[in-house]
Symmetry: C2
Subunit: 202 residues, 2 copies
DNA sequence: AAGTTTGTAGTACAGCTGTGCTAACAATCA
DNA sequence: TGATTGTTAGCACAGCTGTACTACAAACTT
């Protein structure tokens, strides 16, 4: 007998493999069951519907990312801590490249699938909060402007933009170029710590 | 009799409507034909395959964006020109919000659909080139750092990141907040025109 | 030991898909 | 006039989809 929770994980991983190889629309109940080496009936024993399976697969990805972040060794220097956390979120190796592609597919699907929307928003909020913390710490150390919410939003957008670009053009956006891009942004934040006048925008 | 080119456009617009309302996977030959008020047979007269229809619909979106950019009135001041071009690329109104959602769906699909990949890369290259031009002009006027390729990449990622965020959370990312975010970035570029030392990154 | 729950498999069903095919109608040209 | 071409419609086909259902074995409970 296999642990049910473990079997659900195996099925979630089968979903992710199929999604990455053939696209989200190929992640049918049949294809996922075959990928996992199970029958349709078995799969349905663990997930009552396809939607449930998809939600669980997405949740698995989110959990994995959060676990990795929580496992980072403590780093007192805010600049180095920022770089490490952000590097952990970028698709620098194959495992995270896969997660990134899956994230993109789920994000797109969540535009029209209410069940996935809540999860997507959860991931969005978590990433936004993480960026806020990073910028707040940098700002407190004089390494970022004082307008923390604005800089957090900018960092968040930059991070997701880089992730999308890396998914689209993995040949151009190598691990090194992504890391460098983030490092450059953090450097730039440190050189403009003075609050700017908000009256001459537009 | 209707102009064939015009009818193809009508069908492409039907694709975009269905995609935005029900998701890309609902943009089947049948649904699109019904949306356009035509029979399946008629649709197939204009597009020999579903792939052809999709590619044409994507191309329509790209053409529309390029047309809008080309129609911008000339603006001598590089800072204001940058802001205007970038505002044109952000999902600030309903029409461009629709385009943005469609772009996201196509981008996701292009991960596994070779026919769309070429178009997606074309759009990516065009946007990248546009960002490069903007930054180069700003840099020449002393309003941006001298490392133009790096800053172009940063601006490009920021732009796409904001677009993704706006698609995910249109309630948070209003037209005003998007415009402000870009304006703030352009301001920030102007305050750090000195080239930075590349040796202490990481 | 009997009964109950849990896991696995297989099948059936209605509904959708893309595509190929045929037929009818309109317009143009010889 | 007849013939050809362009346009619209509709159907048939094979194949896939999610879900419901039954059947059977293994494990656990009482």
């Amino acid at each position: 007998m296999v642990d049910p929770a473990e079997r659900r994980l195996l099925l979630a991983e089968a979903v992710l493999r199929v999604m990455r190889r053939d696209g989200l629309e190929q992640a049918s109940v049949r294809n996922v069951a075959r990928e996992a080496g199970l029958s349709m009936g078995s799969l349905r024993h663990y997930f009552a519907s396809q939607s449930e399976l998809m939600v669980f697969a997405f949740r698995t990805v989110i959990d994995r990312i959060e676990l990795r972040l929580a496992g980072l060794e403590p780093e007192p220097d805010p600049r180095r801590r920022a770089q490490r956390v952000l590097n952990e979120l970028l698709p620098l190796d194959d495992e995270r490249r896969a997660e990134n592609e899956v994230w993109l597919a789920f994000t797109s699907r969540a535009m029209v699938d209410p069940a996935l929307r809540a999860l997507r928003d959860e991931g969005y909020d978590a990433l936004r909060a993480g960026c806020h913390t990073i910028v707040a710490d940098l700002s407190a150390a004089g390494l970022a402007p004082t307008d923390v919410p604005a800089e957090a939003e900018r960092l968040h957008a930059l991070l997701d933009g880089l992730a999308v670009h890396a998914a689209m053009r993995p040949d151009i956006h190598t691990a090194e170029s992504l890391t460098t891009a983030i490092a450059r942004h953090l450097d730039a934040l440190a050189t403009e710590p003075a609050p700017r006048d908000a009256s001459d925008r537009g």
